[in-house]
């Protein structure tokens, strides 16, 4: 698509959303059998699969920390995830995203419970459509919970941007390409911001407004994340007492 004349027409964005609307979001928890935890997320045009393995032994050995678990995060775009084929493998951009996303999640994972171990998070972008790093963080957070890893809370993330001089929530591809600012933000439910990056320019006042919109967006996403995890076990959850753990006996 070539640069459209206007990105906002009559107060509506090109895909019909208002400035405060997010794209449709769908989380599905526990979709992979081999992984300890997983999540498939459709976030507008983004299709993201996150898998969590661990805690497990650290290889290579020198990476291990004697007092806590290490978190490793790999953000990877499939070669078919964008229009022009993406050359496979890590590049400058995905290494950076892996680092900031890891830092966005590390703060909530209770790493001190699992010394000398590693928690591996793999995020594959199957289809990219602006905001894939926030989609990755959202999916990874659900996958971590699904893996049974103790955390202080979930992490939710959303991008805010500026198009045609207006601050809007959750940019899509065209808005991202032709807009004038993009501000991905991740936060936990207590409102602590764990990721904040910015492309382009915003005035201080705009930044404040953008932040407020991101807080609202993250709250909505947090609800959806919770919902996805609760739905995984359906409505019929009423196990009776889990016994105080005790080994079985042989009956010989």
């Amino acid at each position: 698509m070539s640069k459209p004349e206007k990105l906002i027409v009559d107060g509506k964005r090109l895909d019909g959303r208002g400035p405060f609307d997010m794209r449709p979001i769908k989380f599905t928890a526990g979709v992979l059998k081999r992984a300890d935890g997983s999540c498939y997320l459709e976030f507008g045009g983004n299709k993201v699969m996150a898998a969590v393995y661990g805690p497990r032994e650290v290889h290579p050995r020198h990476m291990q920390n004697a007092s806590r678990a290490i978190v490793r995060y790999r953000y990877n775009m499939a070669s078919f995830s964008v229009e022009e084929r993406k050359r496979p493998g890590p590049d400058r951009r995905s290494i950076e995203i892996s680092k900031v996303s890891r830092e966005a999640l590390e703060g909530v994972v209770m790493e001190e419970l699992y010394p000398r171990s590693a928690i591996d998070v793999f995020v594959e972008i199957l289809q990219a459509d602006a905001g894939s790093r926030v989609a990755g963080i959202n999916a990874a957070s659900v996958a971590l919970a699904d893996a049974g890893i103790p955390m202080k809370c979930l992490v939710s993330a959303v991008a805010v941007g500026k198009i045609d001089g207006e601050v809007v929530l959750d940019l899509n591809k065209d808005e991202d390409n032709y807009g004038s600012a993009d501000l991905p933000i991740a936060m936990n439910q207590f409102g602590e911001i764990t990721l904040c990056q910015m492309d382009g320019h915003l005035t201080e006042e705009e930044f404040g407004r953008a932040l407020d919109m991101a807080v609202d967006g993250c709250k909505k996403i947090h609800e959806l994340q919770k919902q996805a995890l609760i739905e995984k076990y359906g409505q019929d959850i009423t196990p009776d007492v889990a016994q105080p753990i005790e080994g079985g006996e042989t009956n010989e």
């Binding site: 919970a145 955390m151 019929d236 196990p239 006996e249 042989t250």
Partner: protein, 225 residues
């Protein structure tokens, strides 16, 4: 039966920090869930996880597989991020240290007890106790360790039913490994049943459901003969 509520990390569970127990944490005097699981509010507040790897604790009975032999230790895989160490002195017999593999070689399975776990998660195992031994026959299966309490059942009701109905020897390790021995057909059925318990672990009235299932399966088996 009490309706159990599913919680996710960060859910507010209560206002009294004194009640905080497993799977929770306290922040600003309030109790939050630290895990994805089911809340149990009967005596204190705890969250029973729905998934997760086995983390060894002192006193656990586990089924391990010997991975390596050193001069003084057997290194045992216990289905956990941490490997178990079985020191020669914890072996029930006198051991000739030049020939450790004679007593226990790589690939052998043992029922062991976790003797100690230190803060850096060094796990020490022992075989010097009753019931603990080397497994030379039978079969071992892996299930998720969080489902183990359901396989055992309330006061062992599930496991004793399985043993009685199928006439098998079964040992359930805390680390999610289960050893079975008996008639091959019966062991097959026991394994199928255990996997069914694992799949349906979060549903209610499980023991009765499994009883019914076993009855039907045994009926079909008899008819086939």
């Amino acid at each position: 039966m009490v309706e159990r509520e599913v919680v996710v990390p960060g859910d507010l569970l209560g206002e009294d920090p004194k009640l905080a127990s497993h799977g929770t944490y306290v922040q600003d005097g309030k109790v939050y869930s630290a895990n994805y699981g089911l809340v149990d509010r009967r005596s204190n507040i705890k969250v029973i996880p729905l998934s997760g790897r086995y983390i060894p604790a002192r006193g656990d009975l586990v089924i391990g597989k010997v991975n390596d032999v050193t001069r003084s230790n057997w290194i045992v895989d216990i289905n956990s991020p941490y490997e178990g160490l079985l020191h020669v002195s914890e072996f029930p017999e006198r051991v000739d240290q030049d020939n450790m593999s004679k007593y226990l070689h790589v690939g052998e399975l043992i029922i062991a007890k976790v003797a100690d776990v230190d803060p850096s998660m060094k796990v020490e195992l022992t075989l010097r106790e009753e019931h603990l031994r080397i497994l030379r026959q039978g079969r071992v299966i892996d299930i998720s360790h969080v489902k183990i309490p359901r396989v055992i059942g309330r006061n062992g009701s599930m496991i004793s039913m399985l043993k009685k109905e199928l006439d098998c020897s079964i040992f359930v390790g805390q680390n999610g490994r289960i050893w079975l021995r008996g008639d091959e057909k019966m062991v097959d059925l026991a394994i199928r049943t255990i996997f069914k318990i694992e799949r349906e672990a979060h549903t209610s009235g499980l023991t009765d459901k499994i009883k019914e299932y076993l009855k039907n399966e045994l009926e079909t088996m008899r008819n086939q003969k």
